[in-house]
């Protein structure tokens, strides 16, 4: 054998080794065996969040590792806008993380395709965490019995609940000498417009308003108006799109009229959320939505006093609001389901961990008892934090698409709504036109669900 052939042989060997190690790198050894090299139980945790949240979660995981010395958690942080893509890629690649965040709207799809593990026994049998103390409505979002959501086995725990309340600029009201809104009695739609009109002003006298009543984004603020007006996007059976009712059209029209008829919002070109958000921050808006995740920023940056009230109510006279949530699930293929479920519980309900997140003012306490104490604590702004709890307990609802297989039909509603907001089309015309399109997509989603169940 010549020298060069030997060299060639060794080169080929080297190449094979490199390629082999690249391929091996794709499948992390700990994932296949469920153990690290030194024999610890290995679990992965995929999550996302704002910087303060990430820190709080890291600390919680460290504490978990300390109390479970035989478990090693690998953290996988993903940028929020890439999270869904990455999670779905992981699922498609059969590399489901042991513990991961996911949207409650995906419970059905993930359960049907065997992505999520039923963790009921771990949750109910846990010694450290009392399930009774976590928001029942929060846990219900992750229950599924194979047919109906909200009942049956537990497929996840809420990371948090996100009730979306209405905030108002207290300082602005006081300066204008307008009586403060009642936190127990919502405005009617007309009263709301009336107050907002009084607060829409041209302060510097240049002929253009520079202080406005409101500035809502339809995607996040139409729900309370429509619901409280007795309308909804979908019927109870989850099979029919119901936006073509008079109540619904009325709510949409009212929403568009805020701008076109009553002129209580910044003009069309300025209606972008970012802008109205900035205007609210600068104290130019009287009303603006507030979620628990906003509290830290508002406490730090607002130069005025604000507080929470219920959303204005339509025909039914009762306010409505949505409650968002993000879930913590356990992968069905996890080799260490028990340790993974334990971590999920820890993240959702660990007292200290929860406290850290609450202290960072980015979420509500997951424990009902802690939440009640927190709401009563007047040292934390805003004062009427009870409104958040009222939304959860009394009048909050999940998003319309939360119970359908995909959200495509719901997204369709907002895709072409701009002409209505611009006043170029009436709400009545729009809902008539959009209903069949949305119904078609909903039918497709139902069909898709049936197929996936097979």
């Amino acid at each position: 054998m010549s020298k060069s052939t030997k060299k060639l042989g060794s080169l080929i060997l080297l190449t094979i080794m490199i390629i082999g190690s690249i391929l091996a790198g794709c499948s992390n050894s700990s994932e296949t065996s469920g153990k690290t090299k030194d024999g610890k139980t290995a679990i992965t945790f995929m999550f996302r969040g704002q910087p303060q949240e990430l820190k709080a979660y890291e600390a919680t995981v460290k504490r978990y590792e300390k109390s479970h010395p035989d478990v090693k958690v690998t953290l996988v942080q993903v940028a929020p806008d890439q999270y869904d893509t990455k999670l779905k890629a992981a699922i498609a690649g059969k590399k489901i993380p042991d513990v991961f965040f996911y949207n409650p709207a995906q419970v059905k799809a993930y359960v049907n395709s065997g992505v999520l593990k039923d963790i009921t026994e771990y949750v109910e049998g846990s010694e450290n965490v009392n399930i009774e103390d976590i928001w029942e409505k929060g846990v219900a979002k992750y229950r599924f019995d194979g047919e109906t959501l909200g009942q049956g086995a537990i497929y996840g725990l809420p990371k948090d609940l996100g009730p979306f309340a209405l905030g108002y600029n207290k300082t602005m009201f006081e300066e204008a000498g307008i009586p403060l809104p009642d936190k127990d009695k919502p405005y009617t739609l007309d009263e709301f417009i009336n107050v907002a009109q009084q607060l829409t002003k041209d302060k510097n006298g240049d002929g253009k308003s520079d202080q406005f009543g409101a500035g809502f984004n339809i995607q996040w603020a139409l729900q309370p108006i429509a619901w409280s007006n007795g309308a909804d996007w979908i019927d109870e059976t989850g099979t029919k799109v119901t936006i073509d009712t008079p109540e619904f059209a009325e709510a949409v029209q009212w929403f568009a009229d805020q701008q076109n008829k009553y002129k209580i919002t910044p003009s069309i070109a300025e209606a972008q959320t970012l802008d109205t958000y900035q205007r609210w921050m600068k104290g130019e808006l009287a009303f603006f939505p507030v979620g628990p995740w906003d509290m830290a920023t508002y406490a730090e940056q607002l130069k005025f006093e604000y507080d929470l009230i219920p959303w204005p109510a339509g025909k039914t006279g009762k306010p409505a609001a949505w409650v968002g949530s993000l879930g913590i699930g356990v992968g069905a293929t996890s080799k260490n389901a028990e340790a993974a479920a334990e971590l999920a519980l820890y993240l959702s309900a660990d007292q200290e961990g929860n406290q850290a997140l609450v202290d960072a003012q980015v979420q509500l306490p997951n424990s009902v008892t802690v939440a009640e104490q927190w709401a009563a604590d007047t040292s934390i702004k805003p004062e009427n934090k009870q409104e958040f709890l009222d939304i959860i307990n009394d009048y909050g609802r999940g998003f319309p698409a939360e119970k359908t297989y995909t959200a495509e039909w719901y997204d369709e509603f907002f895709k072409n709504i701009q002409p209505v907001l611009d006043g170029k089309m009436t709400a009545e015309e729009y809902v008539k036109e959009a209903q069949p399109k949305m119904q078609k997509l909903l039918d497709a989603a139902i069909q898709q669900e049936k197929q996936a169940k097979k």
């Binding site: 390629i19 806008d81 992505v115 300025e270």
Partner: protein
Amino acid sequence: MKTTSKLYRTEQRYAYLFIAAPVIGFLIFAMVPLIYSIYGAFTNWDGLGSMDFIGLENFINVFKDEYFYKSMFNTIYMMLGIPIGIVLALLLALALNRGIPGTNTFRVLYYIPVISSIAAISILWQWAYNGDYGLVNQFLAIFGVEGPNWLQNTSTVKPALIIMAVWKGLGYTMLLYLAALQSVPKSFYEAAKLDGANAFKSFWHITLPMVKPVTFFIIVTNIIGGAQIFTEINVMTPTGGPEYSSASVVFYIWQKAFGNFQLGYASAMALVLGLFIFIITLIQFKINEKNSFELD
């Protein structure tokens, strides 16, 4: 002459080895997924597990899907930036080729956007396009023009994206042209001058034909890249813009695949898009062949 020396044969083997690395990489990371997605296009694959063969159903639906046409139209519309970019880049290259002072500085300035991350640039431009506080509208306000809310308006969102794309690609195209211009033999211009050609004539009859291979290359690569525009749209208009007026085909495919569990349908659209790009490119090559010339 047939070379069969030992050295030659050994080197040949090494050559194959070196070639093997990218080829194997291509097979594993491009060919296998490609074939898989072609198969996926004929199924109702949801990306989670279920994957049943459904024949041509996806393709029939693609051609009945109004959002597919809309996103396709948006994609083609946004390719208007390609000729604009080419003309601007050529003009810039001509200017810089004259050896004016500061050429290197300009070259660097124009090239910075090219090497910057597209996601970062998109965020910057998103701010610049903001209706109230954006740089663009503040600049327009100097001239007393009240700018629109660029990204929220159906009639301005595509031009806004085009402007950004032109700005981003300018440096790269310019550099290619600069290299091409510098390789045009000076003697051609001298000869033309002696024959009494003016500047425009020598540009038209010498410069343009001489840089044609580069122009061809730029057009082909830009159209392929333009057909796949995604990141800037995803960052700047995360919902596909007002009335879906900035959504590109790839954006729509991505939404279908990762938002709505329709990987099969998305694969079918991707296949249609791939064929579209292939056919367009093929046509370009045919046209180019017809018009090509050779210097002796």
